[in-house]
């Protein structure tokens, strides 16, 4: 027996998660096009690990398995992990990362809706601290065929250093740093000259900028579907652009351009898919703006002055910590109590 309302909109957690997965498809397609089908293998490994980990934890916690395994939230986490880890990461790295995300960061905190941190980003941070070398090896676009990728993933081939390099973000930063030093042969070169290599494309990394475009397209579709609101992507991109513009405008020889920052690394994924995770993110409109702008500033600082190739993951966790405070302080006035 239930009370009013007796009618409900046809909405479910499952359909929300399914739409998020669908929105990732354009980026995955670009990924496959430029970097090969290895990513599909990673997506499958991560999904299987996530579902297995979720099922085991649900059994231990005595929760209904069918209900929670079909909500697809574990699959979303799995896909985000696969998309942020290097596509040639050995299978056990992906599995370990995914299990950490699902078992520790999500289920041990109470499962769906209870985790204070974004599971995928927490897993990424833990793994990059634990395995900095494996987590930083990225193939260039079109460099590896599918068989080599499979060999790398399943451990047949371990000569990775020879065939992979850093991410474009990392490469440019290293180049900029050496350009700043008088002893380097790169000394005196401008950003656009430094980006004249085979690793770089129009705005960011070759190939990866198209994946970023895929995230943008999928993310805009999510806004249209009213799964996410414009606040977080707009504030993140705006604040990242503004921070980059500030320093680049002052020293264009020492800092990357705003557009490069937007098109590289996890910026688009973060703006539309990571920071918009409702469970670990801010919820009020004003809070979302603050939350995303803060994440953008942290991202920029870590990218420009930190030790890690990208800053989105750490920035997300830092802002996750602030969410309860942000939400509490940004509650909008209610009906009849507005001051307009």
């Amino acid at each position: 027996m239930n009370n009013s309302p007796f009618v409900r909109k046809a909405a479910s957690v499952q359909s929300v998660m399914l739409q998020v997965l669908l929105a990732l498809v354009p980026a995955i397609a670009a990924y496959v096009w430029f970097f090969g089908a290895g990513i599909l293998v990673q997506l499958a490994i991560a999904s299987a690990a996530a579902l297995a980990g979720e099922a085991a934890m649900l059994a231990i916690r005595g929760k209904p398995k069918a209900l929670f395994l079909t909500d697809l939230s574990a699959v979303v986490t799995a896909w985000l992990i696969a998309l942020t880890f290097p596509p040639i990461a050995p299978w056990w790295l992906t599995v370990t990362g995914t299990l950490l995300a699902v078992v520790v960061v999500k289920q041990l905190y109470g499962g769906l809706g209870q985790n204070p941190f974004n599971p995928a980003m927490a897993a990424f941070c833990l793994m990059i601290v634990a395995y900095p070398a494996l987590m930083s090896q990225w193939p260039a676009a079109g460099q590896l065929d599918f068989k080599t990728q499979l060999d790398l993933i399943f451990g047949g081939l371990r000569q990775v250093d020879a065939i992979t390099g850093a991410t474009p973000l990392d490469a440019l930063r290293t180049a900029l740093r050496s350009a700043a030093s008088p002893d380097s042969q790169l000394h005196g070169l401008r950003t656009n000259q430094l980006m004249d290599g085979p690793a770089f494309g129009l705005l960011g990394g070759k190939g990866s900028e198209w994946i970023a475009l895929g995230y943008l397209v999928g993310g805009l579709w999510l806004i249209r579907q009213r799964i996410i609101t414009w606040h977080i992507p707009a504030a993140f991109c705006g604040a990242l652009f503004a921070s980059a513009l500030l320093l680049w405008g002052m020293r264009p020889d020492a800092f990357a351009s705003p557009l490069f920052h937007l098109a590289s690394g996890g910026a688009m994924l973060g703006a539309f898919f990571i920071l918009t995770d409702p469970v670990s993110g801010a919820t009020t409109p004003r809070g979302k703006l603050l939350f995303a702008a803060g994440a953008a500033i942290f991202t920029y600082v870590i990218r420009s002055f930190g030790a890690f190739p990208d800053g989105v993951a750490f920035a997300t966790l830092l802002m996750n910590i602030l969410v309860p405070l942000i939400d509490m302080k940004t509650q909008a006035p209610v009906f009849g109590h507005k001051k307009d």
Partner: protein, 563 residues
């Protein structure tokens, strides 16, 4: 139509399901075998029964008298014999009973003598009393006694009188049909209300999914030649028919929780209420029937003019309920309440009997955890954050729930409607509210008990002290007296041995007693007249006579020494 309309935040668009019940005209209902008329049908005090079992009543005869500051009379809906005045199940989910008058119709449907009133020549106070005794209450569902709302605010006049014809709940069409078929009578009721409230303008808000009603009301306004009354089509979005939301849409004013809308120069009435005010003033007919939509799991959804007290199953039978019917819901699917049985009576609050079945209103899918997606906050017409209130309600952290404006929740159901986790959010808020109320009641009663206990201790202590002081003072006085008299006696003692101090002591005591009695009389005199304020002159004369006698009595008492 160029009127500027305002938006309220949130809202939802459930399937309206209104066309099914508007194809046929309003129909009458044959007299049932018996009518069960609950005495308490409106917000406010419980009306007292005015009839005895076995008594014959006429249609429109008052059977329940308004009681207390806020209360509304109840009338016999037809002529017949009062079979009983007893507890009967009321149309409420709880299944609780309430004192009801059970009438067996005699089939004659004979009216009692009806008293009409001209609203333009009658003082407003008398008009309000008249409407109270005619049992007119808000027919939008809140059943608030209308007379209590027909007072202009502090300024003595009103800016805008809002008439609510929005009817935003799915399935319900009784206001729609009323506006289509009885617009001109309704308009006369509105004109009377405008006069009583001294309102500058009247805005009749109707959702734009009822173009026929808008046209009908506009035609009635034109035909009447009245100015300053406008029928406004507003966007269809639930809950546009919530009084606060409608006021917001039409005037831009947001009336905060716990404030009177008249303080903001606005007042809002339902269209059905306007019609029953017309009936009461023009024809003297009290509120004994109302329009009820029968919809949902029936073959022929329709609107009926139903006598108050008609059993719901008697009414639903006319619309052809389908065999899988498993419940009646009073009201719409968004805010309606499930009835405890099929034979509960139609009351003044019954705007719709929604016939339900498991297929039409399936049980919600299993509840999932909240993922803080914020859909509820986007849908909330009160700008609340339901998911935050949900966390606090769930953890019984009621203080925090109130900080997040729990009591601004109008229980419209939008949050539950949109929740992808299928959480019955409104149920959590209803639970929290009732818990807070019951805790407040408990606290009030324990505070009261403590105050009484503390006051008793204080009083006993004070009395003890006063007694001690009095005794001490008396002892001192006596000692002094004895001392002075003692000083005097030695002189006389030489002559006469018979001493006189004893009688003088008794004199002092008597004087004290008399002084105390005088004080008591004065106190009594001060307290007594309070309940004799504001009385008719003849009663006052009587009281004066009694007072005179009473004043004579102490004088006599004073004559007798041992009084």
């Amino acid at each position: 139509m160029l009127r500027k309309l305002f938006k309220f935040h949130g809202g939802v668009k459930p399937q309206t399901n209104k066309t099914q019940s508007t194809t046929a005209a309003i129909a009458a209902v044959p007299l049932p075998d018996r009518l069960v008329i609950p005495l308490h049908q409106a917000v406010g005090g419980h009306p007292r029964p005015l009839v005895q079992p076995g008594e014959h009543v006429l249609k429109g005869q008052r059977i329940g008298g308004a009681d207390g500051n806020l209360s509304s009379a109840v009338h016999a809906s037809t002529s017949g014999i009062v079979r009983d005045v007893a507890q009967a199940v009321m149309p409420h989910t709880s299944g609780l009973t309430t004192l009801s008058v059970i009438i067996e119709p005699d089939g004659e449907d004979r009216w009692c003598e009806l008293e009409k009133v001209n609203y333009r020549s009658t003082p407003p106070d008398e008009l309000r009393d008249f409407l109270r005794d005619a049992g007119v209450v808000g027919l939008g569902g809140a059943v608030f006694p209308s007379y209590a709302k027909l007072k202009p605010g502090k300024e003595g006049k009103l800016k805008t009188l809002v008439i609510n014809g929005a009817e935003c709940e799915p399935f319900i069409t009784c206001d729609d049909m009323l506006m289509r078929e009885r617009a001109s009578d309704m308009l006369k009721g509105i004109v009377a209300m405008r006069y009583m409230l001294q309102a500058e303008e009247v805005l009749i808000g109707i959702e734009d999914n009822k173009p026929e009603a808008v046209a009908s009301v506009q035609a009635a306004i034109r035909a009447s030649g009245e100015t300053g009354i406008e029928a406004v089509a507003i966007p269809t979005r639930y809950p546009a028919g919530g009084a606060k939301q409608l006021i917001r849409v039409l005037t831009g004013i947001e009336v905060p929780h716990g404030r009177r809308s008249t303080d903001f120069g606005v007042q809002c009435f339902n269209v059905g209420t306007a019609f029953s005010i017309f009936e009461a003033l023009e024809h003297g007919r009290p509120l004994i029937s109302r329009l009820v939509t029968v919809a949902g799991n029936v073959t022929a959804p329709r609107n009926y003019d139903v006598l108050i007290g008609t059993p719901m199953d008697h009414l639903v039978r006319l619309a052809g309920p389908r065999p899988d019917t498993d419940r009646y819901i009073m009201g719409g699917p968004m805010m309606g309440v499930r009835m405890p049985g099929f034979d509960v009576p139609v009351v003044k609050a019954t705007n719709c009997v929604l016939v339900g079945s498991p297929a039409l209103f399936p049980a919600p899918p299993p509840e999932m955890p909240c993922i803080r997606c914020g859909e509820c906050a986007k849908a909330c017409p009160a700008d609340l954050a339901p998911f935050e209130m949900y966390w606090f309600s769930r953890s019984k952290n009621f203080g925090k729930a109130q900080e997040y404006h729990l009591f601004d929740c109008i229980e419209c159901g939008c949050c539950s409607f949109v929740c992808p986790s299928h959480i019955p959010l409104v149920d959590y808020f209803r639970f929290s509210k009732s818990e807070i109320w019951s805790r407040e009641r408990e606290k009030e009663s324990s505070d009261g008990a403590r105050d009484r206990f503390e006051f008793k201790n204080f009083r006993q202590e004070r009395e003890k002290q006063e007694k001690a002081e009095k005794l001490a003072a008396k002892a001192a006085a006596t000692r002094e007296k004895v001392a002075t008299e003692g000083a005097a006696t030695p002189a006389a003692a030489d002559g006469e041995a018979a001493p006189k101090p004893k009688p003088s002591a008794t004199d002092a005591k008597r004087a004290l007693i008399e002084a105390a009695m005088e004080k008591a009389r004065q106190q009594k005199a001060q307290v007594a007249p309070k309940n004799t304020d504001h009385l008719a002159p003849d009663v006052e004369a009587d009281i004066a006579a009694i007072d005179a006698r009473r004043n004579a009595a102490p004088a006599r008492a004073a004559d007798t020494p041992d009084a």
